[in-house]
């Protein structure tokens, strides 16, 4: 289960972090350093070997060269202007991609600095230490880390316990506890030991540490196109291929009509028609999507996983830590026959005085709030009885009284052993509390059973609304819990999840995932323990908690550095946003063509057929200004949309119909209208400048 220390540090009710932290050190969208680097990269990317990967922009590049030759042969202000703006179109596309990459690169640089500075204390078989560079460590080596040391590489604690500052990776300043054995033994290279001494067995090969993976991920070094990106690239390539003959045949068509068709205008028309807007921004959108995840401290091992997140139809959520706060809180005292509520509260508080668990403290607080029972000083002759797995009770012995609270059957047995009897109605009371999803603790004063404390699993604030949103988006939420079905049903009801899996084991979890997948659904889950690993691997989106074991982190396809399982919901939204941004800009790009036709076609043939000037509905000044305005618009719209591509289209959790209506209206209808206005505006400016 989730590391409680992290949860506490974060505060149970803490809203999802809105500011960037950790690896994603806050950077504005247009950081000056990134901007400068991106400008340089825009030119480096002119390399045809880079360009050919993007069929749409490659056509623009080739077109630019053709127009350049034409401009050299028939030099005029017009031909040179077109040449320059076509060239700028390519540069702007490169700039968009470079901007998206720039943020990742800057983050990678910070991480890389961290890696190179580390030195390790390698533990030799004869128990002596040797100082080596972190880079020289091999898998299986043992290293010693003491307070103040940086942990040199990923590993597992084999000896000791320590508090570790993981802020370098997670951005979370509160230290976490790491200890040998169990699910909290994993440590990450680059984090700092704050106290105590641990011995770590290195588990990562050289160059394959978590830090290395992070660097290559944020840098997008081996970014591969995702399935939907590939499909979209095919569509864009198909559109480009079909516009090629559309434009090329205008030469013979024009010739037949007795017109001389300018090659420069034909190239300009082609560039305006092919989907350059989306073609230029497509890779930037993908990189920025990954980057947005990093901003939220989630590392996706592949773009494919991010995209799959958008498709998820079933979310498996652990109850503890995700749906509930993780701690049960006292919510009421129920007296047994013949006793008062206050008696129960009083005894319960006494029994909990030394109980430092959140549950125990909540009992003390509740008694205080309800009956103003203050904490009291006990005489010298008192003894606390701590909870043990054997007795399943805890309490206090003082003044000859033995007060106990604990699991119903244990306390009952204990009271009977003391010579007491079981009051009428106790069993009903206990079942009743269990039925609503709470945990009943029975309180006894010696042989006398006083009543029952209700410990309630507290559902996180706002989670019910979140699930309602999910439902609207067509996502089914399933709560996973080890609780019995009765308790699980009650909490599921309260939290508003669609379904629950009670008494869950790794096997039943795995079965659930498989059965959902057989029904054609994509499943997302979070996990941290080693026994979660198979399910994490099976799920389409498996988010491993950074506090989890190495096995879990390797099985999942994302790692949440904050170890906040609720973030699965954010991941889904980012995945959707990525696709929406692509789809919307594609629609916009294609819709733009309408206005461009009305600008260029009359310009192309008006000399032969003056009647065609009727189609010049924007009343553009001259054929040359019309063509140039369309080309300038086509180039500038790329720059104008870079922020949108990097930030993503605004996403609202609502039904598909509402999202579609909104996006079709803004990017489809808007995409048809906007260029008419802007091309006209550019034409007015060109005319005012007396360019034509």
């Amino acid at each position: 289960m989730t590391d409680s220390s992290t949860l506490e540090a974060q505060g149970p009710d803490a809203p999802a972090p809105t500011t960037a932290r950790g690896v994603a050190q806050s950077r504005s969208l247009f950081d000056r350093a990134i901007l400068r680097q991106a400008l340089v990269d825009s030119f480096k990317k002119l390399d045809p070997r880079v360009q050919v990967r993007n069929p749409v922009m490659f056509v623009v590049l080739v077109g630019t060269v053709i127009v350049l030759i034409e401009a050299i042969n028939h030099s005029s202000v017009f031909t040179w202007s077109i040449t320059i703006w076509l060239f700028l179109t390519v540069i702007f596309a490169n700039f968009a991609e470079a901007m998206a990459e720039g943020r990742g690169k800057a983050q990678a640089d910070t991480l890389r600095r961290m890696r190179s500075e580390t030195e390790a204390r390698k533990l030799l078989p004869d128990d002596t230490e040797q100082r080596v560079a972190a880079a020289e460590l091999a898998k299986g080596d043992l290293v010693v880390c003491e307070a103040g040391d940086l942990i040199p590489s990923d590993g597992e604690i084999v000896e000791g316990i320590a508090s570790v500052d993981e802020s370098a990776i997670t951005g979370e300043s509160a230290p976490v506890i790491r200890e040998s054995g169990g699910d909290r033994s994993a440590v990450t290279g680059g984090t700092k030991v704050l106290s105590d001494r641990i011995v770590v067995r290195i588990t990562a090969e050289r160059g394959h540490t978590f830090l290395d993976r992070m660097i290559s991920l944020v840098e997008g070094a081996n970014r591969q196109k995702t399935p939907n990106e590939i499909a979209l690239t095919i569509l864009l390539a198909a559109l480009t291929i079909v516009f090629l003959p559309v434009v090329v045949v205008l030469q013979p068509f024009g010739h037949y009509a007795g017109a001389t068709v300018s090659v420069v205008i034909l190239v300009a028309l082609l560039v305006c028609l092919i989907p350059t807007t989306i073609g230029a921004l497509l890779s930037a959108i993908g990189i920025a999507g990954m980057d947005r995840l990093v901003q939220r401290n989630v590392l996706a091992m592949s773009g494919r996983a991010v995209e799959a997140a958008g498709d998820v139809q079933t979310l498996l959520l652990d109850k503890t830590g995700t749906i509930t706060l993780g701690n049960r809180m006292a919510s009421g005292f129920f007296p047994a026959a013949g006793h008062t509520e206050e008696e129960v509260a009083d005894a319960a508080q006494l029994a909990s005085l030394a109980d430092e668990t959140p549950e125990g403290r909540s009992i003390v607080v509740l008694a205080k709030e309800r009956f103003q029972i203050r904490e009291r000083t006990l005489g010298a002759a008192h003894e606390f009885v701590p909870f043990s797995a054997n007795t399943r009770m805890s309490g206090l012995d003082f003044d000859g009284r033995s007060i106990r609270k604990g699991a119903a059957d244990s306390v009952r047995r204990w009271a009977v052993e003391q010579g007491g009897s079981i009051p009428d109605g106790l069993d009903q009371l206990v079942t009743q509390i269990a039925r609503v999803g709470s945990t009943p603790l029975v309180v006894a004063d010696g042989p006398i059973i006083l009543g029952v404390i209700e410990l309630k699993d507290v559902v996180k604030q706002g989670i019910k609304e979140k699930f309602a949103e999910m439902r609207q988006m067509g996502i089914r939420t399933v709560m996973i819990t080890g609780d019995n079905p009765l308790t699980a049903a009650a909490i599921a009801e309260e939290a508003g999840v669609d379904d629950y899996l009670a008494e869950a084991t790794p096997e039943t979890k795995m079965e659930l995932i498989k059965s959902e997948q057989e029904g054609g659904k994509l499943v997302a889950m979070t996990g941290d323990g080693t026994n979660d690993a198979p399910a994490l691997a099976q799920a389409d989106v498996g988010v491993a908690m950074n506090t989890g074991t190495t096995a879990a982190k390797e099985a999942g396809n994302m790692v949440d550095l904050d170890s906040n399982p609720t973030k699965l919901i954010d991941v889904v939204e980012i995945g959707k946003q990525l696709l929406i941004t692509r789809g919307s800009l594609t629609t916009f790009s294609i819709a733009n063509d309408v206005a461009k036709y009305f600008a260029i076609i009359p310009a192309l043939f008006v000399a032969t057929y003056p009647q065609l000037n009727t189609l010049n509905i924007m009343k553009l000044h001259s054929p040359q200004s019309a063509v140039l305005s369309a080309v300038i618009f086509n180039a500038l719209v790329i720059v104008a949309l870079i922020p949108l591509a990097l930030r993503g289209v605004k996403f609202r959790a609502s039904g598909s119909a509402a999202i579609l209506r909104r996006n079709v209206f803004i990017y489809g209808v808007g995409g048809i209208i906007a260029p008419f206005a802007f091309i006209k505006l550019i034409d007015l400016i060109l005319t005012a400048l007396h360019a034509y």
């Binding site: 939907n228 009509a257 629609t587 294609i590």
Partner: protein, 563 residues
């Protein structure tokens, strides 16, 4: 008022047909109809096919292509040797090489582009044994392909998409033959000629000339000509003659027949995939575009002839009657024309060349939209499904999910095939038109100069590339150049879409179905209808806008000025 009643009765009749013929066709292809089992079984035995054995998409496509190839070869051969064949009272000789190739390709691809005058070129045997046979077979091939694609949606995790031979045979026996038989009786009853007695000579004593009047087995050919969206008539003047289209009733029946199956197939689609709403969405997209096209074409024909108006006669109460049958009038002829060009039929009850420029624009663009409104028998459905897949892909991305249509994920492979299927038509039409206007053999084709001449060439190659077959007129097509280029245009326009469509069927059938949820992109509502219309109009518009501007648009803007 007459036009109003024509439209109203058509809407009612087609509505009923949509519902009942649609569901009957679904039953036929699901194998639930058996009343002709006794004719079916011997045919399978003769074909050597096991009707229980299904085919993968590759085998299905191979069967379809082989069958069509054999059909072309047989038709070609029959035309080449018609002089030695019976039923040739006029003793017509062999049809020329290039013309036979063009005609064979034309009838096998359901185009029925005719670079010949029927009554002076084809013997009765060729008309019946070669051409009418293909008029039955080629729509059945198209419908079979459409059904195979539909099965891609209705099945899950399936390697097969049906058996081509079974679909072909069942379509002919259960659907085309019975309806055509009944319709043929009505045509003949109304006075369409049906005889094998050859031509008659009439001596006109008044003028002192002898007239030869062509006759033949016209009435029954007429029925399948319209029902199968073929369009190739017995006589050169097609449905404008009284022998093919004797009365207003047969004119109405013609329009009804050519729209019946293409519209009804959307119901069949809905029925087979288990959601009539999905069929209705496609129907709505078809009807809306069709309605708009009928509206503005009728309107512009009713406005009168701009050339006549330019001559000072602005009051033209009967609309543009040049080249039209007075029996049918301006608007009804426009309706026939739009129905014929929007269904890949291509039959004509007037001279399309004489439509007003913007009326001609209606006919031409009806085809340029890819023949999906409602398109040809079968071809209309599979082509609009291809457009729908593109609409689903773009729309699906816009809601943030891997797009899916009827639960089937639309991924790289589907996009590739749909892109190919939707873009091949504009590609060939534009490239072949580009070639035709560039070479001498092509430039001598059109009768008129200037934009009208350009439109004649563009229309001819658009008509063939879309397997429509309607002729704008004015283009001299029976030249080696136009015969061969046209044949290639028709073959690519047919099989260049059928093969990707079948591949899509295969790819979709193999997929599992993603269960529907609130987050699913709805493909059965008004929004989707709008998107499909958008994709059809945008693809057609963006690819053909420049060409259209140089043809009918310039012409219209010239206000009757001749070039």
């Amino acid at each position: 008022m007459g036009y109003f009643w024509t439209i109203l009765t058509l809407v009612v009749a087609l509505g009923l047909t949509w519902r009942y013929l649609g569901s009957y066709m679904a039953a036929v292809f699901d194998g639930r109809v058996h009343w002709l089992g006794w004719v079916e079984r011997p045919v399978y035995r003769a074909l050597g096919t096991n009707p229980e054995q299904e085919q993968t998409w590759k085998r299905y496509a191979a069967s379809l292509v082989v069958f069509s190839g054999v059909s072309i070869a047989v038709t070609y051969l029959l035309l080449r040797i018609q002089g030695s064949l019976p039923l040739n009272p006029q003793h017509l000789g062999a049809v020329g090489n290039a013309l036979s190739f063009n005609t064979a390709s034309s009838f096998v691809t359901n185009t029925n582009w005719q670079n010949y005058g029927g009554e002076t070129t084809m013997s009765y045997f060729s008309q019946i044994g070669a051409l009418t046979v293909q008029q039955f077979v080629s729509p059945a091939v198209g419908i079979a392909a459409a059904i195979a694609l539909v099965r891609g949606f209705s099945r899950r995790n399936s390697a097969t998409i049906g058996n081509f031979w079974v679909d072909l045979v069942r379509c002919m026996f259960y659907i085309l033959l019975p309806i055509a038989f009944v319709a043929g009786i009505i045509f003949v009853g109304q006075g369409a000629v049906q005889t094998l007695s050859g031509t008659v000579s009439v001596h006109d004593a008044l003028n002192g000339v002898t007239q030869t009047i062509a006759r033949g087995p016209i009435g029954f050919m007429e029925a399948i000509k319209q029902l199968g969206t073929n369009g190739g008539g017995f006589l050169n003047a097609n449905s404008a003659t009284t022998f093919e289209n004797p009365t207003p009733l047969t004119n109405w029946l013609s329009i009804y027949l050519l729209l019946a199956i293409p519209f009804a197939l959307t119901y069949t689609f809905g029925k087979m995939v288990g959601s009539i709403r999905h069929g209705r969405a496609l129907l709505a997209a078809m009807v809306i575009i069709f309605g708009v096209w009928v509206g503005f074409t009728s309107y512009s024909e009713h406005q009168g002839n701009p050339a006549v108006a330019a001559a000072g006669i602005t009051h033209q109460p009967t609309g543009n009657t040049e080249g039209k049958e007075v029996r049918f009038g301006d608007t009804s002829t426009a309706l026939f024309g739009v129905a014929s060009t929007n269904t890949s039929t291509g039959s004509a009850d007037a001279s399309y060349d004489s439509f007003t420029p913007i009326g001609g624009f209606g006919l031409l663009t009806g085809m340029m939209l890819g023949e999906v409104t409602p398109g040809g028998t079968g071809s209309g459905l599979y082509t609009i499904l291809i457009y729908a897949i593109i609409a689903v892909f773009i729309g699906g991305l816009m809601i943030g999910r891997t797009p899916e249509y009827l639960g089937k994920k639309i991924q790289a492979k589907e996009v590739k095939l749909a892109g190919l299927g939707s873009l091949i038509m504009p590609l060939i039409v534009l490239v072949f038109t580009g070639i035709a206007v560039s070479v001498h053999a092509g430039r001598i084709g059109p009768l008129n100069a200037g934009p009208h001449g350009f439109t004649e060439i563009l229309y001819g190659l658009t008509s063939q590339g879309n397997n429509n077959g309607s002729a704008f007129g004015g283009l001299t097509g029976n030249t080696p150049f136009y015969n061969v280029v046209g044949a290639i245009d028709m073959l690519i326009g047919r099989f260049g879409i059928i093969i990707p469509a079948l591949a899509l069927g295969g790819s979709l059938a193999a997929k599992n179905v993603v269960p529907e949820s609130l987050g699913t992109f709805r493909t059965d509502n008004t929004m989707f209808v709008g998107l499909v219309i958008g994709v059809i109009v945008i693809i057609g518009g963006l690819t053909f806008f420049p060409a259209i501007s140089l043809g009918p648009i310039v012409e219209q803007l010239s206000h009757g000025k001749f070039f």
